[in-house]
């Protein structure tokens, strides 16, 4: 065995780790430290602040002043856990509907003659060419009381009174499903495109009905795609801020909105930092699950 260090390779591997260290771990430590601090009318609006002139003794002094008060506070005011639960509910339901809508789209794409598929994939990605914010704003125009949808339905005579959709949870669901649909469709499409369709013929041939074939052959075989799509939608939806802020109402509780409120309206950086840390911990669970799934998938293939 060659014991000498291969510097080129080490450097190559080190780059992403340094990247993560600088752009994720250090900011996270800073936020974590902030979450252990106390609010103050100062600039920055919290204490203690480390002063490099005080040296090591100052650092020790700073550490002794940190406490978990803010985390205790999160459990005392029910706004926070209600926000977390509400976010969880909204993220779960919208993930479910994204899957429900995304699956037929991905299936249709996978069954399209191959010369059209690249075009269809591009059409799925096309919305990313405009700003996310603008696309969500556009939904205001569609969903508001005298908006496109209501005008159209009134014109058709389906309804007499304009529907109130904007500034409700329904609008948030629509916004999330719309915005994250590509993240569902693309991994599903990748899985469905790889599917060997003679397996479906084989199942039919052995007496299986078409509907049952879907559940016993297609779904188990594209499960990795379903997991990937669901996590890609669920994780960002959980911490979503823009959509509930623009489309949701005052009663729409989402942790992203709560965090924003603490940070900008209350100027309570320490508490909002605590909210962010807890949100991260909540997200770590599904992310770990996702990684476990992928590992199992890789093992299954080898």
């Amino acid at each position: 065995m060659n014991k000498r260090i291969n510097w080129g390779r080490t450097l190559l591997i080190a780059i992403p780790f340094i990247w993560l260290l600088v752009l994720f771990l250090l900011p996270f430590m800073s936020v974590f430290k902030m979450s252990l601090s106390d609010m103050a009318t100062a600039r920055p609006p919290y204490v203690p602040v480390y002063d490099s002139e005080t040296g090591l003794a100052g650092l020790w002094q700073l550490i002794t002043e940190l406490d978990f008060e803010n985390y205790v506070w999160l459990t005392e005011d029910d706004l926070y856990w209600r926000s977390y639960l509400s976010s969880l509910k909204i993220a779960l339901i919208s993930t479910f509907f994204t899957l429900l809508i995304g699956f037929p789209i991905a299936y249709g794409m996978a069954k399209t003659p191959s010369q059209w598929r690249a075009t269809l994939v591009m059409l799925i990605i096309l919305p990313f060419w405009t700003s996310f914010l603008i696309r969500v704003y556009a939904w205001i125009g569609i969903l508001k009381q005298e908006g496109l949808l209501n005008n159209f339905l009134l014109y058709l005579g389906v309804i007499d009174q304009p529907l109130i959709i904007l500034n409700t949870d329904l609008a948030v669901y629509i916004g999330i499903v719309y915005s994250y649909l590509p993240f569902m469709v693309l991994p599903l499409y990748a899985a469905l495109e790889k599917l060997d369709y003679t397996l479906l013929e084989a199942a039919l041939d052995l007496g299986c009905s078409k509907i049952k074939t879907f559940w016993v052959i297609i779904v188990p075989l594209v499960m990795p795609g379903i997991y990937a799509g669901c996590f890609l939608v669920f994780i960002p939806a959980l911490g979503e801020f823009v959509i509930p802020d623009l489309l949701g109402g005052s009663s729409t509780l989402m942790i992203g909105k709560t965090l924003w409120g603490e940070f900008f309206n209350n100027r309570d950086w320490p508490v909002s930092s605590a909210v962010a840390v807890i949100l991260l911990l909540l997200l770590v669970v599904p992310i770990m699950l996702f990684q476990k799934m992928q590992e199992r998938e890789l093992k299954g293939q080898s």
């Binding site: 060997d196 013929e201 084989a202 041939d205 007496g207 075989l221």
Partner: protein
């Protein structure tokens, strides 16, 4: 060629010759089009119970389409398909008494071997015990008992092929369709599996329809072969008849190796009247004489065709004689199809009643058990003659550039008009 299935050699199993036996499968004027492309063109065909029936042809001839019509994955454009007397147009694949073994095997990768075999039985809602018994039976049949718990990816190609077979047999279908079942196996394993397939088919008394492009495979396993081309059945017959009595150049060329000699029909000759020394040989001047000779004699002999030989002239080889059951008229364009193994080769001029052509050895294809001599004639064309290598290499006398005589019996060739 290893021809003829057991069922056939005892001469009892010939339901296609009987008028009273109802065929298991009947194609009636079936046409299948994909857009402008006609895959199956007005095809009619009957396949009988307990047959091992081969659909043979080059890729794109429509054989796979025909099989998919039986399985129900395709629908006919016009015409009718009957299985067991029932018209199939409104019966979906999962309701047909037919199972298929796929070319790719199509084993479910997320299920174990046992689960794969049990899949079809589970759809019939049979009891757990019964399913287990049948799965064990099938695993024993294909000798994979030890692999029951494995996943398909963990098996070798040959083992997967057996699982696919076991899965398609598990439901005891009336009819088993096999789509290039042995295509992915190496030659040795393929030959072994062919005989296993035949044994299983005989043992279970099922009807097998197999799609293959491998003519040797079709010859080995089949009771009958349908050779297909351009969406039509070109000939349906037993393997020996297909080989010995092809009805067209297409068939003769597709099955085995063949020499074609193009010529013109001159007339009939009484067999006794033929003197081998008079038969046309070699050079052009001689062949001209042969034509005149032949035309003179044909008028006299043509009245009684059954006891006589048809006489042909070719551009270069002169007059050649052949048995023919076909009714020919003078100046018909014909081809003599001649199998290489029926052509003798000699350095000295043979004596006796033969067709003879002289040439020079151009190449020798040595296969081991046989050698094929490619003999170049005076006009540059090549005739192949095959010899079994009974002697060891150093004892074989004919070599490159040797002047040789090719000769064959009058009944060795088949006369073809198309």
């Amino acid at each position: 060629m290893n021809s003829a299935n057991k069922t056939q050699t005892d001469n009892l199993f010939t339901p296609w010759l009987s008028n009273s036996v109802e065929p298991l499968i009947r194609f009636e004027n079936v046409t299948k089009k994909y857009g402008d492309f006609t895959a199956i063109d007005n095809l009619s065909l009957s396949i009988y119970e307990r047959e091992f029936f081969s659909l043979l042809g080059p890729s794109g001839c429509g054989k796979t389409t025909l099989m998919r019509l039986l399985a129900g994955f395709e629908t006919v454009t016009s015409g009718k398909v009957f299985i067991g007397g029932v018209e199939m147009s409104n019966i979906p694949p999962n309701k047909r008494p037919v199972n298929m073994m796929f070319q790719s095997y199509a084993l479910f990768p997320h299920m174990s071997i046992a689960e794969n075999i049990a899949f079809g039985l589970k759809q019939e809602k049979r009891s757990k015990k019964e399913i287990q018994r049948r799965v064990d039976e099938m695993l024993a049949l294909v000798q994979l008992e030890a692999m029951a718990g494995r996943k398909p990816q963990q098996l070798s190609g040959g083992q997967r092929q057996r699982v696919a077979l076991a899965r398609s047999l598990a439901k005891k279908p009336k009819l088993l369709l096999l789509d290039e079942p042995l295509g992915a196996l190496d030659k040795k394993l393929r030959e072994k599996t062919q005989f296993e397939l035949m044994n299983i088919q005989e043992e279970l008394g099922m009807t097998f329809v197999i799609v293959t492009h491998d003519q040797e495979e079709a010859m080995t396993v089949s009771s009958r072969i349908a050779v297909m081309g351009h969406g039509q059945v070109m000939q349906v017959d037993t393997p020996d008849m297909i080989y010995e009595m092809p009805n067209s150049r297409y068939i003769a060329d597709f099955i085995g190796d063949v020499n074609f000699i193009e010529g013109e029909f001159l007339g009939y000759k009484a067999y006794s009247a033929v003197d081998s020394t008079e038969a046309g040989i070699g050079s052009e001047t001689e062949s001209l004489a042969a034509i005149e000779l032949a035309t003179d004699q044909s008028t006299a002999a043509s009245t009684d065709a059954s006891n006589s030989l048809a006489s042909f002239t070719t551009v270069v080889h002169g007059e050649l004689l052949a048995n023919s059951e076909k009714v020919l008229s003078e100046h018909d364009q014909v081809w003599l199809a001649l199998r290489p193994e029926k052509v003798e080769i000699s350095k000295t001029k043979p004596t006796g009643d033969y067709n003879m052509i002289q040439g020079k050895v151009w190449d020798i294809g040595y296969i081991g058990n046989t050698s094929t001599y490619h003999v170049q004639l005076f006009d540059g064309s090549i005739i192949k003659a095959q010899r079994v290598n009974r002697n060891r290499l150093n004892k074989r006398s004919i070599t490159w550039e040797d002047e040789v005589w090719l000769y064959w019996n009058f009944d060795a060739s088949v006369v073809l008009t198309e």
